[in-house]
Amino acid sequence: MNKKIFTILLFTGSLCLFGQGQLNGSWYLESGYQTDKHENYFEQGLDVNFRNGNWLVGAKFEQFDPAKPQSLMNEDQGLWHKYVSYKSEKLHVRLGSFYTTFGRGLTLKAYDLQTIGLDRRIQGILVEYDQKYMKVKALGGKIYGTDRNTENPIKGVEWTFKPFSFFNFGGSQVQTEMQYSSETMWSSVFGELNFSFMNLYGEHAFDGEFSSSFMNIFGESASDREDAGTADYVAVNFFLGSISILGEWKDYEQFGKSDNVVLYNDPPTMVQEHRFILWNRHGYVLNAWDEVGFSVKLDTPVAEDGILTMQHNHTELHSDFPVFEESYAILEWEFEKLESAVIAGVQEDFSYQHKNLGFEFLFPMGNYHIGFIVEAQRRESIWVDSFDESQALTFDFTFNPNHILSLIAEHTTADDSDNQEWVGLKYGSRWGKNFECSVFLGSRRKGKICAGGVCVYTPEFEGFEVAGKYRFGS
């Protein structure tokens, strides 16, 4: 028997037999077979936790044999997550694996995204103390790379003062040892103002100790190094009734904190993730070593049942070379029982300009619901006189509503892959509140997929996939 599975079995069994608390957990399985390449993937995970009063004990087993093509993992299995935590009204102490973020992620962001197989965990101790006027977060241990096994030591602290409900400020400091870099320490200062008509957040991060920044303010050098990095991020949101105007600005220079596969920070990109297939395939990948940019976004209601969203964002290198720009508008409208959306926008990177147009319709038919998304995209090369066009159609048929049947079809005139047409059929079903599953059959075009603002490249797929999830406990 697999030792790790046996450990979980022993762990859950013991807790249930001798404990008086609550056991929760979930199991998932995702598997697929590519008929054209005769390759398969198989992933599963079992996440179990036991809660008793303020105490929480948990463990998670994961298996990749091998992982999904777009995953950052390859072939491995392990009990990477084990933890014990105590949380009262003001104090939280956690031993074992955990995730956390300092500020807006300029100095530290440890997180996971199961959709794309990303796991940047810390193993060690986390202590948080939160009272009315002050919050302190301190951690120590090892931070793990995207391969889940490479590790670097890490220590960090974040403190926030909350003198008024509308104003808070603080700082953070991270210390590590890297194998391929001389970086050891970086820090940040941040502040936030929050009123009913406005919200303002600003953060400045820099190489070196936190205390050295104050010396810098009074005229002494914080660092003697010429390559010392800095990162600045500002977000300001104005509200005029129901109208919202958001402006963001970023300036990252020599601040992509990484050591081989160990990544420490992940500052905001300001580039929007879209829910439309073609449009979302050309997201921008953050480069915190060298980028500066801004974003302006408007959200406003239109009449009683409409919403208009408009955004423009621009990112360039410090040498003024533009790397990504996007402008778009989305109008969402509800008329009687018909829900609709129209999108139009332009994206431009250093190779291509993408012009996008899309329509979305949703309407009920008795006990059933029909949904259509139609998208068109024209891609023009910036360097040579050439273009290609792509179209995508998504058709959803929902019944009950525990069953959904989706048809996803795509066509392109681009000649950068063997195929120019892709068709896939997906069926999803829920069984009670504990179990759900889905089956996909067909083909899917290559390109980026994004989740939570992080994008990974996924290769073309032809074959079938099955996925299932079971929850237990509450």
Binding site: T12, G13, G25, Q114, S244, Y470
Partner: protein, 169 residues
């Protein structure tokens, strides 16, 4: 090998489910998160008034916004009977700046919490938003669904009405 591991995983699931079927095993875990106004929200302090609906969402999630639009209407119909909707944004530091704008422009009337570090998300084992959990006035989990499909909110509203009728009895 895969088959054996899968079989063991299922064995643990079913055994654990069987062991967790007592009433105490269905309570929602307590948590506290900041609201958009900078105040602290604690779930246990909101119980006892009526059904509580927890809805995990994100600004970049299209189905979430569609579901929230429907939930807004449900809330308007039942808020005076004690229904509370707690909308938990799992936007991380990259997109959290957009939360207030979306809530204001779409005029969402319910309590909105910020779960930037995904503490509540992990506590409820939410993989992908939207994720909706209905609690009765005592905090017992009555119903939950992951994802949003047209018609979900209709069956959810039926369960809310049923809870309210039980409460009035």
């Amino acid at each position: 090998m895969n088959f054996r591991i899968t079989l063991f995983c299922l064995l643990i699931c079913f055994t654990s489910q069987a062991l967790a079927l007592d009433e105490d095993g269905k309570k929602a875990p307590d948590f506290s998160l900041p609201t958009l106004d900078g105040e602290t929200f604690r779930l246990s302090e909101q119980l006892g008034k009526g059904p509580v609906l927890l809805n995990f969402w994100a600004t970049w999630c299209g189905p979430c916004l569609r579901e929230m639009k429907k939930l807004k209407k449900v809330y308007q119909r039942h808020q005076d009977k004690g229904l509370q909707i707690v909308s938990i944004s799992i936007d991380d530091q990259k997109t959290v700046s957009q939360v207030r704008g979306i809530v204001k422009s779409r005029r969402f009337p319910f309590t909105v919490l910020l779960d930037m570090n995904h503490e509540a998300k992990r506590l409820f084992q939410v993989a992908n938003p939207p994720y909706t959990i209905l609690l009765d006035k005592d905090g017992t989990i009555i119903y939950m669904h992951e994802g949003y499909r047209e018609g979900d909110v209709i069956s959810l509203e039926e369960k809310i009405i049923s809870l309210m009728e039980n409460k009035s009895e």
